[in-house]
Subunit: 338 residues, 2 copies
Amino acid sequence: MTTRIEKKRANLRDVAKASGVSVATVSRVLNSPSVVSEKTLTRVQKVIEELRFTPSAAARAINSGRSRFVGALIPTLDNAIFAGFLEGLESQLADSGLSLIVATTNDDPEIEFSKAQELLNIGAEGLIISGISHSQALEKLVDRTQLPTIAISYYDPQYHLPTVGYDNRASARIAIEHLRSIGCQRVAVVHGPTLNNDRTRTRVDELHQNAGLIALEYFEADISVQSGAKTAKAILASDKQWDAILCLSDVLATGALFELLRHNIRIPEDMAIMGMEDLPSSASTYPRLTSVDLQVREMGVASASALANWIEHHERPESIKLEASLNVRQTTALRLKD
Amino acid sequence: MTTRIEKKRANLRDVAKASGVSVATVSRVLNSPSVVSEKTLTRVQKVIEELRFTPSAAARAINSGRSRFVGALIPTLDNAIFAGFLEGLESQLADSGLSLIVATTNDDPEIEFSKAQELLNIGAEGLIISGISHSQALEKLVDRTQLPTIAISYYDPQYHLPTVGYDNRASARIAIEHLRSIGCQRVAVVHGPTLNNDRTRTRVDELHQNAGLIALEYFEADISVQSGAKTAKAILASDKQWDAILCLSDVLATGALFELLRHNIRIPEDMAIMGMEDLPSSASTYPRLTSVDLQVREMGVASASALANWIEHHERPESIKLEASLNVRQTTALRLKD
DNA sequence: CTCAATAATGTAACTAGTTACATTTAAGGG
DNA sequence: CCCTTAAATGTAACTAGTTACATTATTGAG
């Protein structure tokens, strides 16, 4: 049986009583010490110290009507894809005095809704959600509560919420056009799960639209290095002759890269490979990975400013488009030396 | 000028008035609808819908004395190292109905303290901190508030707070002993910043203690693939003959691996390489990376359960030791085929 | 020494919920 | 039709702060 000293937390009235002043004075000691006399100040502060008093955040929040945090609903924390985004988001929010609660949805709209509900219940002042396909329940919740909410990873000015992200179609076009420009004719496309992920679906669709004379074949994989490697292995095992593997995530591309190396395939001579996102690590792979830069950290910063501004000044932001750009490196370019 | 419909949020009393019942009844509709008559229930629910009423989290918290979230202070979100940890932490906390706020410290004790302070101010019920070296101010804050706090990444039963983590010394020993067993004599050690990072310092120190006949040389790098590659390049540029590169993080090892490949160095014949952490991706690199498994995801799960239990049942947990183990793969083992 | 101005502090109402206890209403039995 | 009992609802006090306004104390000038 554990000994438990269940002496409940001291509150403001306890402090007031113990130091022989009124609650108002204690509150002043906390919030505007300059208006309190030296003598009273030190006395009250001593009592605060003795009673180990910490003001209740909830009681403060109830007065200010503010909780000072926002929630971000992202598919997963399991790989590096969202690391840069979260880093940008968190640091920019901090500048506005906002904290960040991260919740993962596993790309499941039901989970997304229930976590959004929870975030609201604990008082989130704003929300970041991924993509523009969500459960009816979530859409309704956001609408009902008028909670400042921004959809990321998908630029779409038509969407009923402000979006901050890249143009998924444009990024797919950049990729396919690059592969065309280096003369690819048969390309294996490795992409993440399309179920409940509109970003991926849109990109795949756009590739399809723009394939032109390039023959494309699609392979779905989980977003992980392991899965990228496994899928590349399957691609190599098929008899077809591929010119390139296009991975719709750098994480997948890294896995595929390792697998090609394992099979002693010359890159890009025998097989080109390119990724998407342009994670910081992609510039250091061997060979260095060509990738479409989606500016994920930027996306974090931009969505944080937009959301913070919305919360502080009640100004609903416009959607923000991040321009995707191509970083050509060795995995698609013969001539590029180290 | 933005038009602003600043109609303030409806509260429980508004709902009560609008539906002609008492506040208690509205509260019942919210919390125990079964004791409310069918008729009243539907009427009040309709009003709730109309007024777009959402109960204030703060007001609830003030009554329950609960905020239902904990804060985690980790060095960075910038790479995959903490991804598995956070994933485990978040999902396990969710099982106890707790949410997670993530804040990054950049390994700076000052930032760590101020963010801890902020987390407390907004009502965190518990804290996760990294390592066992912290600013006086933070130690004092935790002590003063008696806030359930767990230190991770460092098993140390002597520490004044419960710790959940691996034995950093043991993990270093596992690494050096493995390198000894495969006959290494000169090893380049690549490690993250030691400033304010006791995990790294301890490991480096233990390597030093256990080097025996192995000549060790230390290289400090930022924790990133890029930095791992850059440091490997510098190591190769030095004239010395190395048998192996030991990276105290898989992220660094991955970078080093790429760099060795770039220099056409046979692994492990010309140079062995090993990492630490055993990230999921390490099993898929080429060649597959030998690594000391630190069970980071497990650490997330274990610290979440311990913290949740502490918060719920006021039982201060014992420190939990996670056993580090070695996963020998191709980067240190000649005979291991694919 | 008196008075006005200012500084310091106190009182009580307010924030938005929950809940113990009291009261009203309805239903069923005799 | 009255009475008991249970169900439904209401009243008011409570949670822990902030703050407008009122009051008291202090200071300096005249």
